[in-house]
């Protein structure tokens, strides 16, 4: 039998075609995996240094006059020069000071506020190294003159730590101090506003169109336009936001409130389309049974159809949210592409978002911002991954099959 089949040329061709098709499929999958692996390896390879920082324990002797004047900068400088007695010329002193972060004086002030020490005492201050010294120690970029850093590592214990600062600080122009807290909170506030409004209006519109609206020309036109809206370039929504929310309503520029409003318009069509599909997938028998036992149309929809459609609506919301998280173009128009050092506390404070922070850091000359950029991309991917995982979990938990 098999020898007979093997000699049948048509069958052989069909089998060869099938094997070939499978190989194409496997090759396509391998190629995409390769691209993804390349992307992730590249980003992680560039980004890991941002999660490590170098600190040095610097003994600071508290001079009574400088302590009284709250001249913390002077105290730190004295302590540094005490360790580098050979640095006498201006150039040498500058090279030594360039090893330490400008944040040292605030750190010392905070430390002394927490644990006051009397004048004349010597306290140990944890001082962050500057971005250039840090890169040198990580072996990423070498200082032109390594004499100062070599002396530092020989004289004081320099230790590497996990950089919690990256998650606890807002943006800064000093690369070693810059963190993503401001952008992350800005992103969460913006997406919360966008998703809140998008879900309320999107689901309301979908229920009306699917369950209540008469089928006529007008609703057809609306339906076509909703589908069109889903394909409109995002910058257009930014222009709309500028004209309506900022100029006409006078809402605060750069705020997550306005950003969220603009992004809610952006995700609305996605949510409406997904919600309508989810409502349509609920078997009509459920609604008819509810109507049959005397429920009103409104009760049938809200008590029976909508709960069953929720997992599908959730999927639409996730897709919309993923888009809102990654959007930068419309935010340019409403002033969220900006340097904002303070971490936003409410939806009316000035804020920026993660993708914008990535864009802004990628454009700065300091080398240390290169790893910050990649690290921020890692955080953005992690946030999206977590959101997707949560949504998939919720969907699987509540999904029902007929």
């Amino acid at each position: 039998m098999s020898s007979l089949n093997a000699q049948n040329p048509t069958l052989r061709r069909r089998r060869a075609a099938e094997a070939r098709f499978r190989r194409y499929g496997a090759a396509a999958l391998a190629l995409t995996s390769l691209f993804l692996a390349f992307l992730i390896i590249d980003i992680v390879g560039k980004g890991w240094p941002a999660f490590v920082e170098h600190r040095v324990e610097l003994p600071v002797t508290l001079d009574s006059r400088k302590l009284a004047e709250k001249n913390y900068d002077g105290l730190i400088k004295d302590a540094i020069f005490a360790r580098f007695p050979e640095a006498q010329s201006r150039g040498q002193r500058k090279a030594v000071l360039a090893l330490f972060s400008h944040s040292a004086e605030q750190a010392l002030a905070a430390q002394l506020a927490e644990a006051p020490a009397a004048a004349g005492q010597t306290v140990k201050a944890e001082v962050l190294l500057s971005d250039t010294a840090d890169l040198h120690l990580k072996g990423l970029s070498h200082l032109a003159d390594p004499a100062a850093i070599d002396a530092l590592t020989a004289r004081l214990p320099v230790t590497a730590h996990f950089s919690w600062r990256f998650f606890s600080h807002g943006d800064s122009r000093e690369a070693e101090e810059a963190g993503i807290r401001g952008a992350l909170i800005g992103s969460l506030l913006t997406v919360a506003v966008a998703l809140g409004l998008g879900l309320i209006f999107g689901v309301a519109a979908a229920i009306y169109l699917e369950e209540f609206a008469p089928k006529n020309r007008l609703t057809d036109i609306i339906e076509v336009n909703i589908n069109n809206l889903a394909a409109v370039p995002s910058i257009i929504f930014g222009l709309l936001g500028l004209a309506v929310f900022l100029n006409a309503f006078g809402l605060p520029r750069s705020s997550p409130l306005v950003g969220g409003l603009v992004l809610s318009l952006l995700v609305l069509p996605t949510i409406i389309i997904a919600a309508r599909a989810a409502l349509k997938a609920v078997p009509p028998s459920i609604k008819e049974a509810a109507l049959g036992v005397g429920a009103s149309e409104h009760q049938a929809v809200f008590h029976h159809v909508l709960p069953l459609a929720l997992p599908g609506i959730l999927t639409g919301a996730i897709l919309g949210m993923a888009r809102a998280f990654g959007e930068t173009a419309p935010l340019l128009m409403i002033g969220m592409v900006a340097f904002i050092a303070d971490v936003p506390g409410s939806i009316s404070d000035a804020a920026t978002v993660l993708p914008v922070q990535i864009y802004l850091w990628s454009d700065l000359p300091e080398l240390a911002f290169r790893s910050k950029t990649a690290a921020a991309i890692m955080v953005l991917i992690a946030v999206l991954f977590a959101a997707n995982a949560l949504a998939i979990y919720l969907r699987n938990r509540f999904e029902r099959r007929w």
Partner: protein, 346 residues
């Protein structure tokens, strides 16, 4: 539905305190000045304990538009500019009720032309750069022809026999405008037949130096200077045009190409011998100085010796600061808020 409307109302109410009175300085404008103004904003926030100013990166032209849109809390207080304000922009400002604008010159931005350290170093003149990058160049008889130069050695046999490939900013960038004015125009003037054309027909002359090659010799590599730097590191035959601060940060891998025999360096830009450099400005809305808290302190921080001095933190960030005499004049004008006069503008 009713509950929803109340919720929405509450949302708008929650936002309204921000409308009542702005206590945060707002700055817009050039992406070239952005790295410097943000450094000042941060230092100001730390030193005074006031809210750190918001610095938007909108580009010089976009910043002028926002700045001149009117006076009042919903308009920016400062705009960054990588060129001086144009007369037309000033007129828009005045028309919209921004009568008093203070100009503060803060320093220089050098444009460097660089290549990978792996390549053999050479220097160029502005005329050579023009002959390499202009779309049309004059032939031996002075007739304009499409640029035939393929290798650098086609321009001058002393130059290397490598392909002309220069990565630079796209037309939307202020850096590109400056490069055209500082190098291409000056380079074209160095050619006899074009110098004659300038006298005869200034418009036609402008068209010649403004048009860059589109046949692959000049590659528009995007607004992001870091991208050009990375491409140069990967391709030793290519040249790149970008801001001097990026060269300073990448001196380990890139080397400068001297223009007319002068290398781009902090000193040569500051003392004016390196000609491919432009001044940077910030503009202040004087009318806001009393109503927005912190404006005067912010200006004082910007022009302080700590920031703008020769050893200030802006110099560390790559700004080429003003020579002492100009710095003094700039500081005086800034602190006294001397308004700009229309007839001083072009």
């Amino acid at each position: 539905m009713k509950r929803m409307m109340i919720g929405l109302g509450a949302l708008v109410l929650a936002a309204s305190p921000a409308l009542a009175g702005r206590d945060q300085i707002r700055i817009v404008g050039s992406s070239t000045v952005y790295p410097f103004t943000t450094a000042v904003a941060e230092a100001f926030g730390k030193a005074t304990g006031m809210k750190t100013p918001v610095v938007e990166s909108t580009g010089t032209g976009g910043g002028m538009k926002l700045f001149c849109a009117g006076a009042g809390e919903d308009t920016p207080d400062f705009t960054n500019a990588s060129r001086a304000m144009k007369k037309s922009e000033f007129e828009t400002c005045v028309k919209n009720g921004v009568a008093e604008v203070v100009e503060i010159k803060v320093g220089f931005d050098g444009l460097s032309i660089a290549q990978s350290k792996a390549a053999k170093p050479f220097g160029l003149t502005k005329t050579q750069l023009f002959l390499a990058l202009a779309k049309t160049i004059p032939d031996k008889d002075g007739k304009l022809i499409a640029n035939p130069n393929k290798n650098w050695s086609d321009i001058d046999p002393a130059l290397p026999a490598t392909k002309i490939e220069v990565l630079g900013p796209p037309p939307t960038s202020g850096t590109r405008d400056s490069f055209a004015e500082l190098v291409m125009e000056k380079g074209a003037e160095g050619i006899e037949s074009l110098a004659a054309l300038k006298k005869a027909d200034a418009k036609a002359f402008e068209a010649v130096w403004k048009a860059m090659r589109e046949d692959g010799a000049y590659v528009e590599a995007g607004e992001n200077d870091n991208l050009i730097v990375q491409k140069l590191q990967a391709n030793p035959d290519a040249l790149g045009i970008f801001g001097y601060s990026f060269l300073e940060q990448n001196e380990a891998t890139l080397s400068d190409i001297p223009v007319d025999g002068v290398e781009a360096s902090y000193d040569s830009i500051a003392n004016g011998t390196y000609k491919v450099a432009r001044p940077l400005f910030i503009y202040v809305k004087k009318g806001h100085a009393d109503s927005i808290p912190g404006m005067k302190e912010f200006i004082a921080e910007y022009v302080s010796d700590k920031a703008l001095g020769e050893d200030g933190y802006l110099a560390d960030k790559g700004l080429v600061t003003l020579p002492a005499d100009q710095a003094g004049a700039s500081r005086k004008a800034a602190l006294s808020l001397e308004p700009l006069q229309a007839d001083s503008l072009k």
